[in-house]
């Protein structure tokens, strides 16, 4: 056990998998000597050298396109996109190629790559260093999408992602990078993809969150607990394929739910969760499902905290939902 923050836990997972399996390679902009702009890959270049920790030219399409080629060859590449906001030059390779490779080749060519990328707001990054594009990838059949909220989960989920035989988008909530510390086992362990976690059991309202917003959901649950509202807070961990059983069970119990995410509301992942749970728990619903999300505007700089679905916006939603 060592106390680690999210950055250290992800680093530990990468190091462990690279030691364990020579096929694991890391590539991206600035991942080498400097260890990434958030220092997540720090020390890997020194240990594994230039051939397995690869600083690439400035071209996300090249990072993902060549990573796909490496995966077809038999490696297990873990490409990094410096910020999720800069994933779009690689979008074609991800949605037209990686996502469809196994299917379109009749199963001949699996494409096991794990795309790591920092996501979300909270670091005063404005338009282009704050976005949360998970919905775009959930809408694309063939991809898995993961987003850990804490160091322990991050290590176990990243190991599972790298070992998974399908392409995985691994979103790292950058607001959490150094904000949360906890004990993390030094040994190997995995957390299976597709399994959510009830982080706070409760009876009145189900709150669904992940990544950085989980903490806002928890703080909000604390706040309304004083008013007698008991929230069940679920950390999705794997966004897609989602752990539908845990969600349905919780909503069958509470009859009410709120989804929290940073991305804009319209056509965000919240819409899918609302639809799924409305389909599956229709007769049990006692209040309209509520989405507390980023507004439908580009991500602003100065007013960042008014844009994000923080505690001040979650709490009223919990109250309304509980009292509906």
């Amino acid at each position: 056990m060592s106390e680690m923050n999210l950055v250290q836990a992800i680093n530990a997972a990468l190091r462990q998998e690279m030691r364990r399996n020579p096929d694991v390679v890391v590539l991206g902009e600035d991942v080498g000597k400097v260890g990434g702009v958030f220092r997540v890959t720090q020390g890997l270049w020194e240990e594994f050298g230039d051939e397995r920790v690869i600083d690439t030219p400035l071209a996300e399409g090249g990072i993902i396109g060549t990573a796909i080629g490496m995966a077809l060859y038999g490696l297990r590449p873990v490409p990094e996109i410096q910020f999720a906001d800069f994933i779009y030059p690689a979008f074609d390779q991800i949605v037209s190629e990686a996502a469809k490779y196994r299917y379109r080749s009749g199963g001949e060519y699996p494409c096991p790559i794990t795309i790591r990328t920092p996501v979300g707001g909270g670091i005063r990054g404005g338009h282009y260093h704050s976005q949360s594009p998970e919905a775009l990838f959930i809408h694309t059949p063939g991809l898995k999408v993961v987003c850990p909220s804490n160091p322990y989960d991050a290590k176990g989920l990243l190991v599972s992602s790298i070992r998974d035989d399908d392409p995985v988008l691994f979103f790292e909530p950058k607001r959490v990078y150094r904000a949360v510390k906890m004990e993390v086992p030094d040994e190997e362990y995995t957390i299976p993809l597709g399994v959510a976690k009830i982080v706070r059991p409760g009876d009145h309202v189900t709150v669904i969150a992940w990544g950085a917003m989980l903490y806002e959901a928890l703080a909000s649950a604390d706040e309304v607990a004083a008013e007698g509202i008991s929230c069940e807070v679920i950390d999705l961990r794997t966004l897609w394929p989602v752990d539908i059983d845990t969600l349905v069970q919780s909503v069958q119990k509470t009859g009410r739910f709120v989804v929290v995410h940073e991305a804009p509301k319209s056509c965000g992942y919240g819409a899918e969760l609302v639809s799924l749970l409305t389909e599956k728990c229709f007769l049990r619903l006692e209040a309209p499902p509520v989405r507390v999300t980023g507004w439908d505007t580009p991500f602003p700089y100065t007013l960042e905290n008014e844009y994000l679905p923080l505690q001040h916006r979650i709490v009223p939603a919990l109250r309304e939902t509980a009292r509906y």
Partner: protein
Amino acid sequence: MVQTSSIDTPRRPTPAPGQHDDDVVTVIGPDGQANPATDPRLGVEMERRLYTAMVRTRIVDQQLERLQRQGRIGFHIGSLGEEACILGSVAAFREQDWIFPCYREFGALLWRGMPLQRYVDNMYGNANDPVKGRQMPDHYTGRPYRFGSVSSPIGTQITQAVGFGWAARLRRDPIAVGVYFGDGATSSNDFHTGMNFAGVFRAPVVFLLRNNRWAISVPVERQSASRTLADKGIAYGVRAVRCDGNDALATYAVVREAVERAARGEGPTLVEMLTYRLGGHSTSDDPRAYRAQDEVEAWRRTDPLVRMRRRLEALGAWSEADEQRWRAEVEAELRACIETAERTPPPALSSMFDDVYAQRPWHLREQAESCERGPRARAHGHGGGH
């Protein structure tokens, strides 16, 4: 204002069909004799193999076009006029090397060993289609033959081939990777990025640029203002060569050299193969809408099959009787494949939900069940294409 020294490279005038700039490698002369300075000296047996493969490709192409016009298949994208550059190049790779295709190289797929039956099954998208009827015709896959999976988006295979070759290099596996694409694809993002990464990381890749002068209706002059497409290698520190792509031996020679260099760790090569698309872009296209018949006729006179046959005849290695026998053989084989393919049922309904992931997640299990339980759609027709 001061005049500064600058790099300024006006476009070369386009030589007439069959004429070439000095830097373009050719082997077979008008009389069927090989230029001893460039002749790869393949031997009669191999040259005959090359020629017969080219003829087979042509026959299959023509027959598939007919099937499409009869509504028996939905689409075909052919290689009429480009047989020399496709077969000459693929033949230059060794068994251990890998090929990443564009969409016009079924001839290369057959050369690598795919049975004709499986290719025809792909044209029908039936239960025996290697891609399980999931993609349009000519979007095949050939992993057992060290041959990649075709997708439609232009250029995407280029960076993938670079990553594949780079991975081989990291594993100290002395192979070369060939990747096909067209002149239009040189404008794509992936050409730029693939060439750039290959240059920086010395990936063992041979970039097989089929310059057939057209990207659907857009002529190569509208595609780039560079002097030649091979010149683009300079932007990436990637060695570049040009060859007469209607000359199978010239193509073989330059590609073979590039393959050996790549496999020896001497880096990538861009090969510009100068050829011409004699037919439409695909069965969905009518090129008379955008190009002069004269141009096509002039190029028809440089037919790579005629050129190679003349070469074999000059060697005394081919006769009209050989030609008849070979054509009859291919036609019979093809007829049988088509009959079998037409008797083969479509893929099973439930196969639609396989291979999205390694295992079916809950939502696809639900959807597959709902699909199988529900009523069936009306019969499957055949439609248009790109």
